[in-house]
Point group: C2
Chain length 411, copies 2
């Protein structure tokens, strides 16, 4: 049998999905499992999007333009303008999800062996997309104690080599929920300008900012217009994860011409789901107001609940619908597996994503886990109860001084 | 501004789309343009597929499984079994179109610098997918005089080096319409076995075989089960190009595990269009009988019409809905552009895809063009009339001896 490629070996298995067999064991035992491990919201997709797909009068399900329907690109540009983000229709190429947008963006800008700097913890699939493009990920450490704020500029600059081609951020962040301030983005812009590298920003959680926090888009940063590539997606914004509609956005004409060649090779993004995404742009503000109010309540239930458990610390995120919490345990991979394999509390247990999969540095995040607050408040309350009981019972529990906990009450 | 990657430079621009600006000039002059340049059929999508998407009761448009819905994979396996092709559900990973299937397949099996052998002319986007995976395409020449039959085995074997990782075929072929015989496939199997390389077969046109010709799947080749990777798609079979639903199929568990890691990184194929693809499997045979009867008539109108033009030769294809024709012209790129830019016949003209884009060898196919018979018979008759007049008027016309034409009446 011929050998597989090195990429097939290097591709990471999904850290979020590797516990699935243990979850299946838990179901088999009749346990109720609270799934805080995945970013699949239970929020209803806007009816305007669903109805547009149902009512589309299609006789022949044809390809769209490789860059996506012109009508969609025009309306999407109008959405950005209305949101105060400087984007025109010609700056947009519609992709099959944010995933494809990242792959095309990476392949257009980076050669095999080039380095991209990413503050860790970061969305685990960035590793996979980097493997696909043959790039090396260079992490720079954000800490839970600082609420996952941007690491100091000097630390980022220390990582820059002749091979550095880009910095990649997710804002608001998955898995941290951290929202970069305008000042932090301007610090990044200064580095990007000084070293003339690209800045990728995955802004798919833009709509989910809480407590009056305002998201700032990299598209509005001055002086680095040619360096910025924004990644977007309808997946989370309209709870349309299954639509697989995203976008690459840049003012850099050469980048867009490069991305377009990759887009042409795969012909087009999905037609019907583009129709849904276009219609979703007419979702009324009231939908977001309701969704955001819901997420704020969920976040408070989950994060306040976690922080009320002795030895647990979770910075309160300002955006997205994830948080990373630190647990008083020896190894969160083992803890997460134990929750499914050996633990139960009144017939229930919790599934979380061990944070190690979100760090590129070996051993980092060993006592952290990501939790997605994509379930309703009652479920989250029960999940917190489960975790409280679990921490008491877990054989690998370690003592944490209250000092180190207090240190962390930032963010 | 930072430099783009070498891949962005190497990615070929679509040879099919590069004439679009000239077509737009033709529209601006008020000309009717017969589009024989693209493989977008005008055939209606089966109602069963359209209705399933319309009637899907979706509240939250969620991700599917990364390998596609289990229900779809099960029914798809049943379709293959019914078609006499040895495939089980666990041999299938659903992808976003045949395009993604090829990219995942190539990335799973080939390292940068590895070589893949492809009989040319071949589907132009294979070049793009090879660039994405960093592979080198090594063409082996099929000739119009032989109706684009498989090149002699010795010629294929001569191309095999230590870097050769796979042979790639499209069967029935785009752009040639050639259907490989069982004997030809067994010849390929022998080479694949002898050199222990992979065999990729793009079988998306399987349903379109004419005049009683029977397609043979590589999945049924004996002794190379671990080497075979089949690519499939609903795009052409059910006229669902815009659905972007395809599949990677292999009995090789390691290959499938590798592909699965790429599939997990991009989360899932589109949900609603998968529902449509699953329902499309219930399309009655009468739909295909009608569609095939229609394509046979179209093929006859186009191919017989082309062969009736002095100096033009077109082997009659047994499958798919393309043909490659040889024209008595100096340069078919120039000829195709001239048709749009300077020619008209009673207010009409024809758009074709110059064949050079389907050859990897520089200069090959210089007097050939691909025509897709995706328009109705009346339109095809008029297109032939246009081409007859065009050949008479074209300033770059070259004389062709009737001898060389007769030589070619094979296939």
């Amino acid at each position: 049998m011929p050998k597989l490629s090195q990429k097939a070996v290097d591709m990471p298995a999904s850290p979020i999905r590797k516990l699935v067999p243990y979850a299946e064991q838990a179901y088999a035992k009749g346990l109720k499992v609270y799934h805080l491990n995945i970013g699949q919201p239970d929020i209803a997709t806007p009816e305007t999007a669903i109805n547009a797909m149902k009512n589309a009068d299609i006789k022949v399900l044809e390809y769209s333009h490789s860059a996506g329907f012109a009508s969609y690109r025009n309306k999407l540009a109008a959405y950005y303008q209305k949101t105060g983000i400087n984007v025109n229709a010609e700056d947009i190429i519609i992709t099959t999800g944010g995933s494809e947008a990242l792959v095309f963006g990476f392949m257009t800008t980076c050669n095999p062996g080039d380095e991209i700097i990413i503050p860790e913890p970061f969305y685990a699939n960035y590793n996979g997309f980097a493997v696909m493009a043959g790039m090396d990920v260079v992490p720079v450490r954000a800490t839970i104690e600082n609420g996952f704020a941007l690491p100091p500029v000097e630390e980022i600059e220390q990582k820059i080599t002749a091979k550095t081609k880009a910095i990649v951020i997710c804002n608001p962040g998955n898995p941290t929920g951290y929202l970069y301030s305008k000042e932090e983005l301007e610090q990044l812009a200064a580095i990007v300008k000084k070293h003339d590298i690209f800045l990728f920003a995955d802004e798919v959680y833009r709509e989910f900012c809480y407590d009056g926090a305002v998201p700032h888009s990299v598209m509005n940063l001055k002086g680095i217009e040619e360096n910025v590539i924004m990644i977007d997606s309808v997946s989370k914004r309209y709870s349309m994860c299954g639509a697989r509609i995203g976008a690459v956005i840049s003012k850099n004409k050469e980048v867009m011409a490069g991305v377009m060649k990759f887009a042409q090779a795969r012909l087009s993004p999905p037609t019907i789901e583009q129709i849904g995404a276009e219609a979703a742009l007419e979702t009324p503000q009231s939908y977001f107001d309701e969704v955001i109010a819901e997420y704020v309540e969920r976040r408070n239930v989950l994060v306040d609940g976690l922080n009320s458990i002795p030895g647990v610390f979770c910075p309160k995120p300002s955006g997205a619908f994830y948080c990373v919490a630190k647990f008083p345990v020896d190894d969160s991979d083992k803890f997460c597996q134990w929750l499914l394999e050996e633990f139960q509390y009144e017939g229930q247990t919790v599934m979380m994503a061990p944070a190690t999969g979100f760090y590129s540095t070996k051993g980092a995040g060993k006592n952290e886990a990501r939790l997605a607050y994509v379930l309703n408040k009652e479920a989250l309350e029960k999940a917190v109860e489960c975790l409280r009981a679990a921490i008491e019972q877990y054989p690998g529990r370690v003592e944490v001084s209250e000092d180190s906990k207090n240190l962390s009450s930032v963010g």
